[in-house]
Symmetry: C2
DNA sequence: GTTGAAATTAGTACGAA
DNA sequence: TTCGTACTAATTTCAAC
């Protein structure tokens, strides 16, 4: 069950190597599609919905888990119901060469749901869930601002979460758009004035005033 | 199994009304804690880990699901392994009174994993997963910029996702910090110069130049 | 990679505390 | 309400094809 990670498990057609380990074919993707929508489905039902035998479903299920394509299964929780109805994004400017410290501090903040290093004006974006606005304020001033690695922060509140899809798959691309594959067409008639990519250097220079 | 949504299910202690429907006590939170880390655990094992009977675990499990505290179960997928290794944040400025159209268009974009309405300089932030940088570019120019509701966009790439916790719970607050509850202490010695909250009006006025 | 049977486990219903 | 048990249904595992 673990040698699959090295050799690949598929046998039908030419799937095309996507990841490093396991070769994901159409059946693998279909399994992932089902599992992201219903993580508690039994492997038997999964086999039925995908259209393969149970033994095959078990094999592939295990392979996906062993390979790491499926990292874990989790429950989506309604934050409002659990009392953490306020969500905020905190954009952080980090002092260079203090990243290790910043990451270490983050690990000690359980109210942080998500943290990503970004290009652009800031260096990182963290998402927090709190009971009220005052707690966000306290979090930013008491905890974040006291970290030496943090040079500056910018807080934005989330008014509404329009959609959260449980993880996008490559097969999603061919769903809503029957004829057109984005990256393979010339941009053509694009209102370029609307777009603006933010490079890392640009924003960082603009922020050098505060320290 | 559904009257619990109105009356509450707990019996020990004074849980304190958190959500609208179900009253969540310590046991409920413990169940959620287990389930967010292992969404496929059997209810029997869940009962064991939480320290309640099987029957009770089934009742509470169903109640949490019926109440909506648990929205769904999902599989966390490794995007790099599935071929969508590029993640980008696109900050969108939306023309007022065209929100309905904007939301409708979003629903037709399966590559969008997350979208939230925010305060601050922009109106919305969307997170997309793509195979390469060119696809992000095409997405922004071909699809987003062509939506009349979209006034302007600003794209930022995610270089690294430091952490993604499967949903924060109120009980997390009392984990890493033995003595100190943020929102209940005076801010005290805060380097205020580090912090900056961005209001909605401020940023919108600054962006009025483009149209 | 598939099918079918045995062993195990999950889910339900009920009475007692 | 919660617990414990008995009962039923389903799933998982293992075998042979």
């Amino acid at each position: 069950m673990s040698e699959i990670s090295r050799n690949g498990a598929s046998g039908s057609g030419q799937p095309g190597r996507i990841g490093i380990g396991l070769e994901l074919d159409a059946v693998h993707l279909k399994i992932l599609e089902v599992l992201r929508e219903n993580g508690r489905i039994s492997v038997s039902s999964l086999a039925e919905r995908v259209g393969i035998s149970r033994a095959n479903a078990y094999t592939r299920f295990e392979a996906l888990r062993a390979d790491g394509a499926i990292k874990r299964f989790t429950a989506e929780i309604d934050h409002v119901r659990t009392g953490l109805g306020i969500t905020a994004l905190i954009f952080v400017t980090v002092r260079q060469q203090m990243w290790k410290q910043f990451r270490a501090e983050l690990a000690r903040m359980p109210e942080v749901e998500y943290c990503a290093i970004t290009t652009g004006q800031h260096d990182a974006m963290i998402q927090v869930r709190m009971a009220d606005v005052a707690e966000v304020h306290a979090m930013v001033t008491d905890r974040l601002a006291n970290i030496p690695a943090v040079k500056a922060t910018e807080t934005v509140f989330i008014l509404d979460e329009v959609l959260r899809r449980p993880y996008v798959l490559p097969s999603d691309r061919d769903k809503a758009r029957p004829a057109r594959r984005a990256a393979q067409e010339a941009p053509g008639d694009v209102p370029l004035g609307k777009m603006r990519f933010v490079g890392a250097a640009e924003g960082r220079a603009a922020l050098r005033k505060d320290g």
